[in-house]
């Protein structure tokens, strides 16, 4: 327990007054000096604060999605029979966590056996986070004695904010996104498409009996033909193509990755052959099996923004590398080497394969790349998180305002070239935006 220096001024004042009182013979000055001495003396005899307290931490969600607020609750309990007049608690949060509501610190006083709770909200980017020790400063009633403890809180000490495919709520995927794509051809399916003249051999359950009752002619109902498609999600992982969130929280890369993961899960769930590529050279060939799913998961787990200057180095294995096993060789062979602004990736894309570019659209390079994909005959969609969501014009800096305008222009430009763009407003569920994307895509 450390003594705190708070009363030197009062002591010096009392000594000066005593001296002055003696010099000029004013006993009243001695009384004032006496007040100061008595108060300092009483403050000095204030008892030491107890160290019997307990702190427990709990989280509203220990596996949140990026950008999803998490409520952290601290329960503080005084286990002693003495009052804790001054308890100052500070959370040691990892730097990347952003407190969006409340404060991660609290100052309180607790009666004997009493308890209190303190809550605050934070948002986290992708990753695993471990809460550090709590810094607890205690003082006595007069604040003349104090100590600092570093305490590990009971309860939750870590949480994960992830985009793993397996962890996504598949049951929520109630819409069709890319796979089982409706076509403009009639055939077996669910949605009514047209009727045609009956041909021998047509199934009985597709004969329009109502038409036969009215006109006496047989006709066959055709439904919209649905076919599985091949989709490649291209993730814009250029460091220059991303921005930090305004006011903290997950950056545009985290949100882009999250959006891609949701899209991939939906696509796989619909039975589409699904692949993923990054502009820095990661490549997973379209597929539907468990192996593909596993490799997609690996890419999403390890993806990081890459400085474009570092993309020059080919990341595929050499031909004479005999130490790798056959599986790893295959994986390496699948990797496209994006040393030319994604041109090689364009050549690797399967014919008639559809492309979903996931990018915040903060520069023109990605727009040009979308056009190139389109010119190679691929149906292109863009899935883009809006990093200025919910920010009023006054909250944005001049640079942010210009950036927002430029991004809107890029979206308009792409839409004008028959490219479907899902402009994901972060306040709305991603699924709603995916649904809009599908609607635009099929029309």
């Amino acid at each position: 327990m450390k003594s705190l220096s708070r009363w030197q001024g009062a002591l010096v004042g009392s000594l000066v007054l005593t001296l002055l009182g003696v010099l000029i013979g004013a006993d009243g000055l001695l009384v004032v000096a006496l007040v100061a001495l008595l108060v300092v003396g009483l403050a000095r005899v204030s008892s030491t604060p107890s160290d019997a307290y307990r702190i427990e931490r709990s989280l509203s969600n220990s596996r949140p999605n990026p950008g999803e607020p998490v409520t952290v609750t601290l329960r503080i309990e005084n286990e002693s029979r003495r009052m804790l007049p001054d308890l100052r608690i500070t959370e040691d949060l990892p730097e990347s966590l952003t407190v969006i509501s409340g404060s991660s610190s609290v100052g309180t006083a607790l009666p004997p056996g009493g308890e209190t709770t303190h809550s605050y909200e934070l948002i986290a980017p992708r990753g695993e986070f471990v809460f550090g020790d709590l810094t607890v400063r205690r003082r006595n009633l007069a604040s003349t004695l104090g100590s600092a403890d570093f305490v590990t809180a009971e309860g939750t000490t870590q949480f994960t904010c992830e985009t793993l495919i397996d962890s996504l709520p598949l049951r929520q995927q109630t819409i069709q996104f890319i796979g089982e794509t409706p076509t403009n051809q009639g055939g077996p399916g669910v949605e009514f498409f047209s009727t045609r003249e009956y041909r021998p051999g047509d199934p009985l359950n597709r004969i329009d009996w109502n038409q036969y009752a009215r006109s006496g002619t047989l006709s066959t109902v055709e439904y919209r033909l649905e076919r599985a498609v091949t989709v490649v999600f291209i993730i814009d992982d250029r460091a220059a193509g991303h921005v930090d969130a305004i006011g903290g929280g997950p950056n545009s890369f985290d949100l882009t990755l999250y959006a891609a993961a949701r899209g991939i899960v939906t696509s796989l769930d619909d039975g589409n052959e699904t692949g993923v590529a990054t502009l820095s050279g990661e490549w997973v060939a379209p597929g539907v099996g468990d192996r593909t799913r596993s490799r997609l998961s690996d890419v999403l787990d390890t993806a990081e923004p890459v400085d474009e200057s570092l993309i020059d180095e080919p990341r595929g294995g050499s031909d004479d590398d005999t130490t790798e096993d056959a599986t790893e060789d295959a994986a390496k062979a699948d990797r496209a080497v994006a040393t030319d602004g994604g041109m090689e990736l364009l050549h690797r894309l399967p014919k008639n394969g559809q492309v979903v570019i996931c990018s915040p659209l903060v520069d023109d390079a990605i727009v040009e790349y979308a056009e190139q994909c389109s010119s190679h005959g691929h149906a292109v969609s863009v899935l883009s998180p809006d990093m200025t969501t919910g920010r009023g014009i006054k909250e944005l800096s001049m640079g942010n305002r210009v950036g927002r305008l430029c991004r809107r222009q890029r979206i308009s430009y792409l839409r004008g070239r028959n490219t479907a763009v899902a402009d994901w407003n972060l306040r709305e569920p991603l699924l709603a935006e995916l649904q809009r994307l599908q609607r635009r895509w099929t029309t």
Partner: protein
């Protein structure tokens, strides 16, 4: 034939008005936002300290100098705080307004100062403490009103002083513009200027025994302080080879530390001797104060030489009463001020010419614009006649003649300039206090409020209000305790975490033991002191010295344990 576009024809006046309206709206909005942020940042402890300080100032001030005096002190504290805050604002419009507000601060500071001097002249020795009590009331109020700002730095005070000085230049410019076109007035103004200059120079170089000792130490402190500021600005270490820089920096730091100590020492000597000389000059010799005057008169240089032993007296008088040394000190002071102003200007220009012009134009405009209505008011209430009547004996006749001749509005503007000068003096006094006492960085306002209340307590017991004095002393300690507690909370728990419960508990505890201390001290005073009847003066002296020793030991023990 010039073509006038319809948009230009119709929209220009409107757009100017619109711009002004928008600018004013922006100013008001900015002020409201700033105030809201400041007030929102106040915690329970801050509100407690503010309300307790103002409450005690109101109650004790009323008991001490009446309700008018208390109101005067509170208003003076408010205007001084507003001046300090607004003239430090980065918003040019706010700093202009700050110059206007400072005129009221000047009026009120003059009123408080005049009141204190009046009491001193009326009541003699105890009047000195009464006067200090009134000034302490102002300090406590200023501290309370500065609570949202928290820190009172000398840099901020210097910045405000500079802004007000520029405002004075603006007022002087206005007077010059009004006087210059009229040849007669111009001649009178020139003569008055010369006469005033001569008087000022002779006063500055005066070595009158009535003030020589005190003014010398003031000058010494000012010169040392300004030299230190200049040395800080000069990149001395950069002029040296790299291998000698660390030595040079260490030497400079050592010198600076001693310089700071010398400045504080000189100021303390100057203030103490100044108070002594003030008493000597103003207190009428009677039975009550005769013993004191025997000592205070020794502070006059001609008396000092009679008690100081032989070689020392000549050296002391040779230094303190030397006009040439004073001249050197003045050269150093004004030279350093010039260097600092040039350095400040260069720093400002680095931020851009437009920025510099705006920063200079704001106080100039504030001084000119505010002097128009205030000058009219001053002329309407014949303030210049009052000023002439109250002018000291040494005022140059040319100046008085000029002031009597000029139009009333010009005279009013001169009064406004003088009020600005008084505000500058009030700020300098605050800076002096901040230098001597060393206000803590993050609890400057709390410390100022507490020191002010303690001063009121001292004054109250000396003028015969011991109960008020004890109560105010306890309140001063409580204000410090709660305010400092809030500051540590703010430091250790940044942001705005919930701390109400801890602050409430601490404030309750603080009230409890400050009240206990006050009651204990009062009981001791009422019960124990009358029982002590020393049989002889020598025994009383021994007893007092003994109690002083005990108090010192107790103080050292408590300081050590803290």
């Amino acid at each position: 034939m010039s073509i006038e576009y319809p948009s230009q024809q119709s929209n220009d006046p409107e757009s100017t008005v619109d711009r002004l309206r928008t600018g004013f709206g922006s100013l008001v909005s900015s002020m409201i936002t700033t105030l809201r942020v400041r007030f929102y940042s106040l915690r329970f402890g801050d509100w407690f300290s503010i309300l307790l300080t103002l409450g005690v100032v109101a109650i004790a001030g009323t008991a001490f100098v009446g309700s008018t005096g208390a109101l005067l002190a509170v208003a003076s504290g408010l205007t001084l705080a507003l001046t300090l805050v607004m003239t430090n604002s980065s918003n040019p419009l706010l700093s202009s307004l700050g110059v206007a507000i400072s005129m009221f601060a000047g009026v009120l500071a003059a009123a408080v100062g005049g009141f204190a001097v009046y009491i001193l002249l009326q009541t003699g020795f105890s009047g000195l403490f009464a006067g200090l009590g009134i000034v302490s009331l102002v300090l406590a109020s200023t501290g309370a009103f500065l609570a949202p700002i928290r820190s009172i730095t000398r840099l901020a005070i210097a910045r405000s002083t500079l802004v007000l000085a520029v405002g004075m230049v603006g007022v002087a410019g206005l007077v010059g513009v009004l006087v210059a076109p009229r040849a007669e007035l111009r001649g009178l103004a020139t003569e008055a200027g010369f006469a005033t200059g001569q008087t000022v120079v002779s006063t500055l170089l005066s070595v009158d025994p009535v003030h020589a000792l005190s003014t010398f130490f003031f000058l010494l402190a000012a010169a040392l302080f300004l030299i230190g500021r200049v040395v800080v600005r000069l990149p001395v270490e950069r002029l040296l080879p790299a291998d000698r820089r660390s030595t040079a920096v260490a030497a400079i730091e050592w010198v600076q530390q001693w310089r700071v100590t010398l400045v504080r020492g000189s100021l303390v000597v100057a203030i103490v001797t100044g108070i002594g000389l003030l008493l000597d000059a103003t207190v009428p010799p009677d039975e009550e104060s005769g013993w004191l005057l025997e000592y205070t008169q020794l502070l006059r240089t001609e008396q000092l030489s009679t008690v100081v032993p032989a070689p020392v007296d000549e050296i002391l008088l040779g230094v303190v009463a030397s006009q040439s040394i004073r001249s050197v000190l003045y050269v150093v002071i004004f030279g350093a001020i010039g260097v600092l102003l040039v350095a400040r200007l260069l720093v400002a220009l680095r931020r851009g010419l437009a920025w510099t012009i705006v920063k200079l134009a704001a106080p100039l405009a504030g001084g000119i614009i505010a002097s128009i209505p205030l000058g009219m008011l001053a002329s309407r209430f014949a303030a210049i006649e009052l000023l002439i009547e109250a002018a000291p004996a040494g005022t140059p006749p040319d100046l008085i003649e000029f002031l009597q001749t000029v139009p009333s509005f010009v005279a009013g503007a001169v009064v406004v300039g003088i009020l600005l000068g008084l505000a500058v003096l009030a700020l300098l006094a605050l800076g002096l206090l901040a230098t001597v006492i060393v206000l803590p960085a993050n609890t400057g306002s709390t410390a100022l409020a507490s020191i002010g209340l303690f001063g009121v307590a001292v004054a109250a017991v000396v003028v015969g209000l011991p109960l008020v004095g004890v109560g105010v002393a306890a309140a001063a300690l409580c204000v410090w305790d709660v305010g400092e507690f809030g500051a540590t909370l703010r430091t250790e728990l940044p942001g705005r975490p919930p701390t109400l419960r801890a602050e409430t508990v601490h404030a309750s505890g603080s009230l409890l033991y400050c009240s206990a201390g006050a009651i204990g001290a009062w009981l001791l005073y009422r019960l124990a002191v009358p029982q002590i009847q020393p049989p002889a003066a020598e025994i009383a002296a021994v007893g007092l010295l003994g109690s002083l020793g005990v108090a010192a030991l107790l103080g050292i023990f408590l300081a050590g344990s803290n």
